[in-house]
């Protein structure tokens, strides 16, 4: 299991390397500033990565226990559910449902609390954004796909 601090330094290194790589393929003026910023940035990333690798365990300030990591992974799992749930099923439907699920399963809140929060979210989403502001909310990719099928069926 790679330590987080090394991981993040490595990730930044990769990001810069990729961006500089792409930038090098751009013509003339398009690549000027990305390289002027990217190359020094890449160098700094390499330096930081090496620093992290060579750090002695005694110098490391924060230590993460396996329980910490488990909690983090779980939370990330829920975060993914939020984001991708909304992407797939849209704000009006997915959001309140996921709020309720999260509260009940992750925090162990009682059902009436979870559903109450879900109702609140639904009320604000529909009441304020949809009704008052007239801003149509995203219905989700799955719903759009279903509409597309219906579309085809009716109009051929």
């Amino acid at each position: 299991m790679v330590e987080g601090r090394i991981l993040i330094a490595g990730v930044m290194l990769l990001i810069f390397a990729t961006m500089v790589g792409f930038a090098a393929t751009y013509p003339g003026e398009a690549r000027l500033l990305p390289l002027v910023i990217g190359i020094p940035g890449l160098v700094l990333c390499i330096i930081q990565f090496v620093i992290e690798l060579r750090m002695k365990p005694a110098d490391v300030e924060k230590v993460f226990t396996p329980e910490d990591r488990m909690a983090e992974l779980k939370m990330f799992g829920w975060f993914s559910v939020f984001v991708f749930g909304i992407i797939l099923f849209g704000f009006p439907y997915a959001a309140p449902i996921i709020v309720a699920l999260y509260l009940h399963f992750s925090w162990g809140e009682k059902w009436y609390v979870s559903l109450g929060a879900a109702a609140f979210a639904w009320a604000v989403l529909h009441g304020i954004f949809d009704y008052v502001l007239g801003l149509p909310l995203f219905e989700g990719l799955v719903n759009q796909w279903i509409e597309g099928l219906v579309n085809q069926w009716i109009y051929g």
């Binding site: 007239g134 801003l135 099928l149």
Partner: protein, 337 residues
């Protein structure tokens, strides 16, 4: 859970189909009763297209009794995302919107990103002309287009971002007029005007109405107009056709002039049933001709000129029917700097 969702979806689609097949009566103005329509604007909030779009949406709602019109901003990629969105929307007449005529250039040159074919949109109509002009700053010292044409070296023009319609207009001008235009890109309309006032650049091209304040405040004047039909709105301004002599130039100028004729277009996705489209076009026409809308637009200094859906469909087809030579010329003009 997914299976159940599918079953529900299937049931819903059955119900919809049954309804659609069982009610073949042609649409009339009441077709939209109780329905929510979405007017898509291909730019962010604020700005010319958004203002026109919201105005049109408001008045169309008036002529489609019982309906509710929502305006949705779908900005990005120089109107391409908005146009794509409209093109791929469900052709039930509930979605339509507005985007830049300049996308004609994109389609002609086969530029990346577009998912549409402009000739296939269900055009509702046009709301204005977009007369292309060249504006020269008073600070430059050039009193007229003839002075500008006499300049030996490069003449600096403020232009919008590379690849945008306004930028292409400027590059075409460079190509067809006997001057060397150096475009300084990246200026949003108003910033370009400031740049002219600071004396950094000498001129700019764009839509006549957007320079209204600039000219009124005597910071610049209309030096050239690229349109055959602008006699009444811009009296006394020399026409570009007088200065373009060779054949290739004339062809590109014709394209520019054609674009001037089409402005603030509203379109729906291809395949809207003809009777529904008729209702929409009627509502659009009534909205544009409504005296209250015209009055509101006047206050905003936004000229209004109606053009029917059929007119637009026709002109778009014409504009997109160019010989390969013209397209090659266009690409040449766009690339040269």
């Amino acid at each position: 859970m997914l299976k159940r969702l599918f079953a529900v979806a299937l049931a819903v689609s059955f119900a919809c189909t049954a309804q659609a097949l069982a009610a073949p009566a042609p649409a009339d103005a009441n077709y939209f009763k109780g329905k929510t329509l979405t007017y898509i604007v291909a730019t962010g909030a604020g700005g010319g297209y958004d203002t026109y779009g919201r105005l049109i949406a408001r008045y169309m709602q008036k002529y489609l009794p019982g309906s509710r019109m929502l305006v949705r901003n779908v900005p990005g990629a120089g109107h391409i995302i908005g146009a794509n969105t409209i093109y791929t929307a469900r052709p039930d007449g509930l979605t339509f919107g507005m985007f830049n005529t300049g996308l004609i250039y994109n389609q002609l040159m086969g530029l990346p990103g577009i998912k549409f074919d402009l000739t296939k949109f269900s055009w509702l109509g046009k709301a204005s002309d977009e007369i292309r002009v060249m504006v020269v700053s008073t600070k430059s010292g050039y009193k007229s287009i003839d002075d500008v044409l006499k300049v030996k070296g490069p003449v600096k023009f403020a232009a919008a971002g590379v690849g945008s319609a306004a930028y292409l207009d400027t590059r075409i001008l460079d190509f067809i007029l006997p001057i060397d235009i150096q475009t300084v890109t990246g200026f949003d309309g108003a910033e370009g005007e400031l740049s002219m006032m600071r004396g950094e650049v000498v001129a700019a091209t764009g839509i006549a109405s957007s320079f209204d304040q600039f000219v009124k405040n005597k910071n610049g004047y209309y030096a050239l107009v690229m349109s055959q039909i602008a006699h009444d709105t811009l009296p006394g301004v020399p026409q570009a056709s007088q200065y373009v002599t060779d054949e290739r130039g004339k062809r590109l100028l014709a394209l520019l002039e054609a674009l001037s004729d089409l402005g603030r277009l509203t379109a729906g996705p291809p395949g809207i049933p003809p009777d529904v489209l008729k209702v929409l076009r009627d509502a659009h026409e009534k909205a544009i001709k409504d005296p209250a809308l015209i009055a509101d637009a006047m206050k905003l200094n936004m000229p209004v000129k109606f053009g029917s859906g059929e007119f637009v469909t026709d002109r778009i087809k014409q504009a997109l029917t160019q010989t390969p030579e013209t397209v090659a010329l266009l690409k040449q003009a766009a690339a040269a700097q």
